[in-house]
């Protein structure tokens, strides 16, 4: 049996997680919108590309693990129990479909307005990861608010 305190701690962390993931996704999209709004010449800056790359890896890690790896195994198990795993799987599936649809859209767009490989991949990865993160945050938030 798990202690009730631990369940309540996991509850608080779960609510925080859904909020943090949602805000992270919004910041990620805003950052990428600013990136694409900037002149093409300045986009090749290693700093901007490096920041995007690191952020994508971080968000993928959060999506894969559910986050809060340092809060202890028992709390992490509660945070990532059956409903969280189901929500995460559904979010990852949505991320997959958004990625494929965006890849097709970029393919068609590139026929009329050529894009570099980097630009195309940047758009596809950003939308796929962002969509999965938002979906997980919204599903978790909804699950916490029921009742």
């Amino acid at each position: 049996m798990v202690e009730v305190d631990r369940v309540e701690k996991a509850e608080r962390l779960g609510r925080s997680r859904s909020r943090v993931f949602f805000v992270l996704a919004m910041v990620f999209f805003a950052q990428q919108a600013a990136y694409f709004a900037s002149p093409a010449a300045s986009r090749a800056s290693p700093l901007q590309i490096g920041a995007w790359f690191v952020l994508v890896i971080l968000l993928l890690l959060l999506l894969a693990t559910g986050g809060f790896l340092f809060k202890g195994r028992k709390v992490w198990d509660l945070l990532n129990d059956e409903t969280a795993r189901t929500n995460r799987a559904a979010a990852q599936a949505l991320g997959f479909w958004v990625t494929i649809i965006m890849a097709l859209a970029v393919y068609v767009e590139s026929i009329f307005d050529p894009l570099t490989l980097n630009e195309g991949l940047h758009i596809i990865v950003t939308t796929g990861v962002g969509a999965a993160l938002i979906s997980f945050a919204v599903r978790e938030r909804r699950a916490h608010q029921i009742g």
Partner: protein, 63 residues
């Protein structure tokens, strides 16, 4: 369909107490009670075991 809330209330347990007995989050108990989430067979068995009833007494298929 399930009688999770009714059986939990009958024992005077909170959702967090039942969650602790089963080893899941309060959110999971809450979503099962509200029929938003359908539990897996292992979780249904654990819930029934914690409440001291059979799975059939706790869950059934809607007509």
């Amino acid at each position: 369909m399930n009688r999770l809330r009714e059986m939990r209330d009958a024992r005077g347990w909170t959702q967090a107490e039942l969650a602790a007995r089963v080893g899941v989050s309060r959110k999971t108990v809450n979503t099962v009670e509200n029929r938003v989430f359908t539990p897996s067979t292992p979780l249904a068995l654990k819930l029934a075991d914690a409440l001291g009833v059979t799975v059939e007494e706790l869950f059934w298929l809607a007509d």
